[in-house]
Symmetry: C2
Subunit: 193 residues, 2 copies
DNA sequence: CTCTAAATGTTAGTCACTAACATTTAGCGC
DNA sequence: GCGCTAAATGTTAGTGACTAACATTTAGAG
């Protein structure tokens, strides 16, 4: 769901710099004064750029926090689950595997983002809409492996909900490991064998 | 989560009439031209009223569709579950019981609303934010009955996600019974005994 | 039928976001 | 280093959701 308008791959580097400047400025301002109280204009100015330019990098204010490129990994992980298992279990195990494979160093940044999201009702909604894409992808995979669409949708939705809830809880704390938090969340829902 | 500014209970009836007019006009316009393409001004005009007045009845455009007074029933139902069961099961059974108790005649109206929501990404997000309140209430109840906050949050979130997913599937069709659809959705997640 | 509170209207403004068009600047080939 | 072009940014103007302060009408309790 990234919407950086990448026209010509690797033409310049200026683009990457302003992108980083905007992302940094946004995250800092959100943390300092809250998401709702922060204006797109403020972020742009802090990054030494115009409001218009902001929207050339992020289609919406919320996209500053909701750019997740994690979907493909997840799908592969789910596809790798044993077909004999019911869809719900396959989805859960896939999510477990995918997040266990996430590089540790990313955790702190994820934590900062998730914290802001958890604190902002508008963003919690946006988060869910964002996972809508992930959900669709999971459903596709489950159906391809023989599940009913209705069943697949419920399985995907509830597993993702557990994941997100786990992320929120994890982000509140300081020391817990991301992978462990996800494991614990999924254990609430799935009967471990 | 109703935000009709009810100042003096049962003082007049004009209020109820304009409220109904706005709700009807909104639903019809949404169905005819889509949610995003429908302007609050249009709804207001169709109801013979000013845009400003609309916002005196609904705090936001989305509230036309997301006014659910079902929470209290749900909480009672969850509280009535056997404490011996794990939180996840208690939440699921509570939801099941609550929706089984819903009066049949309400179904068609719910279907119209859910259909619009399901078709509109922005509303899917809003829907989730709206269930946030329900989620909080469920978590409170589960914790009061001895669950860990972390566990309770995951349980509540995933059960609600299953419920919503079930609602979306149900709304697509024409004839299925609401209660049955919810049952089926929850069966995907919970191991029935 | 009156009189007050409730209901509605008016005006003006903010913020997220879009579109069309003008201008600068960065970095490639030379 | 230097020019040239495409990429990056800016400008202006506008829409739609929503808020606030204040003025006006109207409905209905007495």
């Amino acid at each position: 769901m990234t919407d950086t308008p990448r026209l010509d791959p690797e033409r310049t580097t200026k683009r990457q710099r302003t992108l980083a400047a905007l992302a940094d400025a946004g995250l800092e301002l959100f943390e300092r004064q809250g998401y709702d109280a922060t204006t797109v204009g403020q972020i742009a100015r802090a990054a030494g750029v115009t409001e218009m330019t902001f929207f050339r990098y992020f289609a919406a204010k919320e996209h500053l926090l909701l750019d997740d490129p994690y979907d493909p990994v997840l799908i592969v992980a789910i596809a790798g689950q044993p077909r004999a298992d019911p869809p719900f279990l396959r989805a859960a195990s896939g999510v477990r595997a995918a997040w266990r494979a996430l590089p540790e160093p990313e955790a702190p940044m994820i934590r900062r983002r998730v914290r802001i999201i958890a604190q902002t009702p508008a963003l919690r909604g946006a988060m869910w809409r964002s996972t809508g894409n992930t959900e669709r992808a999971i459903v596709e995979q489950l159906v391809a492996d023989g599940a009913t669409p209705g069943v697949a949708r419920v399985a995907a939705a509830s597993v993702l909900a557990a994941l997100v809830a786990g992320l929120y809880s994890w982000a509140e704390g300081e020391d817990a490991s991301l992978a462990d938090a996800i494991e614990d969340a999924l254990d609430v829902i799935v009967v471990r064998r």
